[in-house]
């Protein structure tokens, strides 16, 4: 289990970020290192000011999907940000912002939630990814 799991997060909706946080937390519990690379709308969701707001769901969710997500949340499911936080406490999870996406959104490192460890380019991401799987969400 020594090869890292590498998650490229692109989508910024709560359902996809929740799925990503579950994958990260599961890997952390197994002692597998996780590298998370935040691009575009996923990076936008990790902004300090916005991390706790409602980021909506993927279009295929529809009204029925929304109701299911709301019910699970009402039953006490942890938010994706909280799941990432607990996963970081447990294991080796490095969350990096894509520098191109930082330029795109016109934001600086101080604008990001403390869950984000730093800013890097795609080359550094691939270097850290090693021979581990790369998953794009």
């Amino acid at each position: 289990m020594s090869e890292p799991l590498n998650l490229v997060l692109f989508s910024g909706t709560d359902d996809k970020l929740t799925a990503a946080s579950v994958l990260a937390a599961g890997a952390a519990a197994l002692g597998k290192p996780v590298n998370v690379f935040l691009q575009y709308w996923a990076l936008d969701a990790f902004r300090r000011e916005r991390i706790a707001v409602d980021h909506g769901l993927a279009p295929e969710a529809g009204a029925e999907g929304r109701a299911h997500v709301d019910a699970l949340r009402a039953a006490g499911q942890a938010s994706w940000a909280e799941t990432f936080r607990q996963a970081k406490d447990l294991g080796e999870i490095d969350i990096e912002a894509c520098s191109l996406s930082m330029d795109l959104l016109g934001i600086e490192e101080k604008d990001l939630d403390p869950l984000v460890d730093g800013v890097e380019g795609v080359t550094a991401f691939y270097l850290n990814a090693g021979d581990g799987q790369v998953v794009f969400i």
Binding site: M1, A28, A29, L30, A75, G76, A78, T83, Q86, L90
Partner: protein, 78 residues
């Protein structure tokens, strides 16, 4: 079945995947080798998850049972 002395308990009822495992892994980290932990969960996925987690991490799954409504696991830290 032999009676197993339980050192720690974790109530993971009502927690959705992957929180039962995340909380178990966090608690086990702080325990000493040889100590036992009993976890009670309601997530049906936890049956396969606890078996897989124990196999991968080398901790021993001493018991995995269900009364229909809850799932009980007993683990021994390696």
């Amino acid at each position: 079945m032999a009676i197993i002395a339980i050192d720690q308990h974790l109530d993971a009822r009502g927690l959705a995947c992957p929180m039962p495992i995340v909380k178990t892994a966090a608690l086990m980290k702080a325990m000493a080798g040889g100590q036992t932990l009993e976890v009670v969960a309601t997530d049906p996925g936890s049956v396969k998850d606890f078996a897989a987690w124990a196999r991968t991490t080398g901790n021993e799954l001493l018991e995995s049972s269900s009364d229909g409504a809850t799932y009980t696991f007993v683990l021994r830290k390696k």
